[in-house]
Symmetry: D2
Subunit: 414 residues, 4 copies
């Protein structure tokens, strides 16, 4: 959490925050109305907490909207570096892809937002935390479980869910109360959540899962312009953490930004899928996640070179569990910690480089090397020279490897 601005001051935190609600504020219609209603109708002072997780929005303008809607405090926290180092890095170690596909864009930012909001609440002496999620989505689960784990003593408010205001009602409220919505469009064809790790797009025409997604809502990716738009990027890892691009150390944040750029330029990283929300419903989701997918492709490729087979196989099963629990809002759970310990141990050997080739609509690994490579050309080669493999062992191995199946087949036949 590198910077924060616009904090009110003058009175001790404990006093200042009495009854105060620290709100995870996005700058959109819903949370702006929440600021106003909590302040003016419920008499609760509101601290609007804006967390920069790389969403590429005008956060200063958003902060002003909160202040004008009545926020007692408005805080902007630049958490991009922290997001990359503390949230993306472990997710990369676990190759976290929900249902085998979705790299958990929103699911990874929510526990960070919960942390930042709780920290702000502590600093400001607030006695409650709040979010603007509805009752149908996953984010309510993630934020509330996060709040509960981090600050069981704080009251948790979910006004958007509990008031159940529709969008027209919220717009009418804003109009009636002179709330300046600034850049917030009155038309909202899509519900979008964005951060460094990608963009999640829901609603509108996407609610028919048979209908193709229009190009309109995409922002990180664009259709490639030329067939020969082909580039290679070499991603360097240390202990499973992506740290370098083409030999330059740029940190996790730098790697993801570079891969977002490289992938986005060729239209790589669009997902169109149906997924299972924690609350028990299926939803159709469109994502654009060029850097996330490219990072994971490189990481998996290096793991294949440097992790022993049995460990790799078991890790694959646990990766699915890991992605599920993150999706399901259990980032702060003890299971998450134990899985992180497993993953960390497994990453010990995952250092080296992977060459990624970006071409129109695609990203592929085309080479990998490592000082910890377990690939031994002398064992693998079918060439006749330099062969280090014990061929005669193979016959014995095959005999015993198949023995239990052979015994079963013989008995079953009788």
């Amino acid at each position: 959490m590198s910077t924060s601005t616009q904090q009110a001051a003058g009175t001790p935190a404990a006093k200042r925050g009495a009854g105060m609600v620290a709100l995870a504020y996005s700058g959109g219609l819903d949370t702006t109305v929440v600021v106003h209603r909590l302040t003016h109708q419920h008499g609760r002072p509101v601290a609007a907490i804006l967390v920069d997780v790389g969403q590429n929005e005008d956060l200063d303008a958003a902060a002003k909207r909160a202040t004008m809607a009545g926020a007692a405090e408005t805080v902007i926290v630049d958490a991009r570096e922290r997001f990359a180092e503390e949230f993306l890095a472990p997710a990369i170690a676990a190759n976290a892809l929900y249902e085998g596909k979705y790299p958990l864009v929103s699911a990874l930012s929510r526990p960070l937002i919960a942390e930042v909001v709780v920290e702000a609440a502590r600093e400001l002496g607030a006695t409650a935390v709040a979010h603007g999620c509805t009752g149908k989505g996953n984010d309510q689960v993630r934020l509330e479980v996060g709040f509960g784990a981090l600050a069981p003593d704080l009251e948790v408010l979910a006004p958007v869910r509990d008031w159940a205001m529709s969008r027209p009602e919220a717009l009418a409220y804003a109009d009636a109360n002179g709330i300046d919505l600034g850049g917030v469009s009155r038309e909202k064809p899509y519900s979008i959540d964005a951060n460094l790790w990608g963009r999640a797009i829901e609603c509108g025409v996407l609610e028919d899962p048979w209908a193709g997604a229009p190009d309109e809502p995409y922002a990180m990716t664009r259709a490639p312009g030329r067939l020969d738009q082909v580039t290679e990027v070499v991603v360097g890892f240390e202990g499973g953490v992506p740290v370098a691009v083409d030999g330059r150390r740029v940190g996790v944040l730098g790697v993801v930004e570079r891969l977002n750029e490289a992938g986005g330029a060729v239209g790589f990283g669009r997902l169109d899928m149906v997924e299972n929300r924690r609350v028990g419903i299926k939803s159709r989701e469109v994502y654009e996640v060029p850097g996330a997918l490219a990072t994971l492709i490189a990481h998996q490729d290096l793991e294949a070179l440097t992790i022993e087979r049995d460990l790799l196989r078991e890790k694959q099963r646990l990766e699915a569990r890991y992605a599920e629990l993150v999706y399901d809002g259990l980032w702060f759970s003890p299971l998450k910690r134990a899985l992180d310990a497993f993953m960390a141990e497994a990453q010990e050997s995952v250092s080296g480089e992977v060459r990624l080739r970006f071409a129109p609509w695609s990203c592929q690994p085309v080479g990998r090397r490592s000082p910890r490579s377990l690939y031994r050309a002398d064992l693998a080669t079918y060439e006749d020279t330099g062969d280090g493999f014990d061929h005669t062992a193979a016959a014995g191995f095959v005999t015993l490897w198949g023995l239990s199946t052979r015994t079963w087949a013989a008995v079953a036949r009788d």
Copy 2:
């Protein structure tokens, strides 16, 4: 198994086959030398069994080579339909991708070849079966475990492994004994195995995993010629089995052929990876599997729409196990049967259609529909009308969903 040719006849099978070896014959250098040596040096009559699994080779020419090398019998079996229906269909149900990536091209054909060879051995009265695999690969495991499970009474020969002839030695033997190698190249820069489900390419320059793969060995896929080379194919499934293309019923074989074509045309389906062979070594493999990957993408996409969440999650774990056991040569094992039963039950609802979009280097699902769809727009919508979701239930759900984590965090904090 639709046709077979060139079988000798006249004497009863039992007599004819006394001491006979039914050999899984590929038409290449190694197995042709095996035919000759077994026949002329070891005095064993050989039945060369050629199985057509869609490898697109001149099998008649190959059969002639076997006969000229001394084979007592030469049999060509067109097993393409059987391969699709009995081997690919269950693998599709299980989304079988070894180590998350490789659709098991060779691994799926080997148990079929074992079956066909055993059937031929029974018909011919052969008392032994044989294969031409080396001691370093996976195929020896797959064929021998298959032979052992299907015909524990038959002798199993692995002459290539046991004689340990190098390629130059084999070529010298062929020359010395006047074996006509026909189309078999003396230069063999790659080791290739092909069938309907894809092509596996090993050896040569690929043995350096950092070096990029050259375009040369690719045959099913080619670089796209235009940026706007975009097509859509609608794949239809019934109970998890792909049966239709763009509304026409073409069977599994037809679907895979159509998707091989559509994917191959845009360069989709190339894999470059390091994998773990069963014998304990890592190898670098290049595959081209356009139809296989496209089929699996479509299948997974339809499953997401039609399979309930908890079942989908558990299935994902078992899919990894399934792919491992097929890769590891245990197709005929009781675990495989039990997993098939699980998969079959899970496929009950997987009927419907998926729209696949092929563009240069890529294939993406862009729409899906099903009479058994579990997607309910009235539950998922964020719109204000037609909402069938009980918002008030969410608060209670979140409270109890996070309770065990909250309790743990509170106790840990004390």
Copy 3:
């Protein structure tokens, strides 16, 4: 469902049941008060459904209590055979033990009760179903998920949870309204749920998990009277289903009854544990489950003899998942069906006999045999004669079995 009694008749079901509530009636204080309040305060006719799952209570007396409390219909259903064949048999196939210990006494009866209540509701034309569970336990989950899966059109009532009456309040209500509580004790030191598969005991002094459980609430088991109280029972299985005792075919019900008797006589089958309820809390539970544990011990023992290793290992993992989903109320889920298919396939070979030895406080398997035994003395023996094992294969096997670990160790050392 063999018999049912005391059903009212005369008018068509549809008419009779208009507004009627089919209640899972236990005969205890809570559900008796529910009958009275629903009838007299809410004006809803109540059908009290008593399901005999082997709880060894006077159901006729209970039925009379319901009638006197105002029930419009009272139905007793003898579901013991059905419980054994349709619920215990699959659980035995899956060796279902929640958290490795608890054989799911209540969890297995609830889906059956849900089925019976829904069937009765259909027959009577009732438009609602109801249960008497509180909000803290697992049974509300099991019954409501069951109702929802079986009859999504029926209204579901949970009056005990929703009214939140305390026990003193319920007793006061009964007194005030002249409800005859018959055999229902006013003092209720324990909360007990019993059926053929065992008894679950909660509450009272057990709420301190450090305090030992008193002998008082045990009913199926008793302290053994003599040190030499040792008996053997031979349990026979067919396809994984326990069907015989000491050579006599007695069916699942008969086997469980016999083992309850044999185990109970020597004090075998008491469990004292802390477990995790689905709603997120830990509870201390005492069970007595002599027949359930003995049946599972015998079943697992026969599986060890007749199931191939890899299948057994994977089955073990799925057994844990199976027990969890049954505990968590998901008996009617599609995951349950897919797991049942896996288990059924795995049971194909599980036929044979197991000798169980009961001694004071204990039950142990001491012998097992099967026509499908995979134990081959000629392979296993360390004797010098009759050895069918290929010793020379072992060296090759060990070499390749350890190869990936050896490679990893060598690279890690460098």
Copy 4:
């Protein structure tokens, strides 16, 4: 490794050990013959390494036998403490029970013996290591994989397997060469392996899995003498490690010794089972493991109180994998290390005490307490006072918990 004796000295290790074979020496017939043959027939100096893992044998007498058979060096290493702290403690953390039952008596000692033998080889400058296992068992796998991981540069000899001497042949060799077999019985009705963690008994009459095991080979356990032979032992844990008995700190070694005594006195801890050896065969095994089982019972019981549900469930699956890999000889594998990291994290909260009740033939937990207890009486109670549970949340929870199943059932019905 606390003590070692009888090491020769005087010349530098490197010189002394040239060509020397460090042999895992047991003192029995086979390894004594190996000492003699390697020394006298193969001209290899032998260092006989005796490792005390609590087997309760006269190791000095055994050492003398080795010396008299020609051993150049004889070393006794007391590794009991190290066995307890470095091998049993992690196995306890993982509740390691192979196939759900067997606490891995031999499987846990073999990697320690491999370590000690390699250490001795290094110290003595030996260039080879050797073991006396046959080709049918698991121990060859465990020792050779261990040797390969720890010392890939050392030659590995398996003379008993490779020479394939039968027992009569070995006895004849001993007679012919005047080898003093001392306490080694010529009759050997059973093959027994013993250490602190238990005793494994194979062979003889046990090779018929239907026949009951005789009492004769049991040594750690005996039939109880009185029906009222009942004792309680309180076992204390810190971070998952058993460290105290009845409030006294005695370390892991002390706890296991005390529980061996308490369990052995009442006949608790006998197992009779069929298990799957790694080499692909089933064998019938009898174990006596009173202390091992009692320790694991106590540990699991305390985990139930102190570990959060989701972590406990996932840990249960990994425990099975852990036991398998230890059984399969992969103690020194990277998967083992990653699983250990998971287990260690999960043990963080596992501190407290468990009351074990030993009665004739049985051991049961009857109470547990912990400063990290997650059991909260105020949540669990069904009493009317002090209830901290949010009953109203339950209705919402149940609604959404069952939603995906309800949706599936509704669609399936249509």
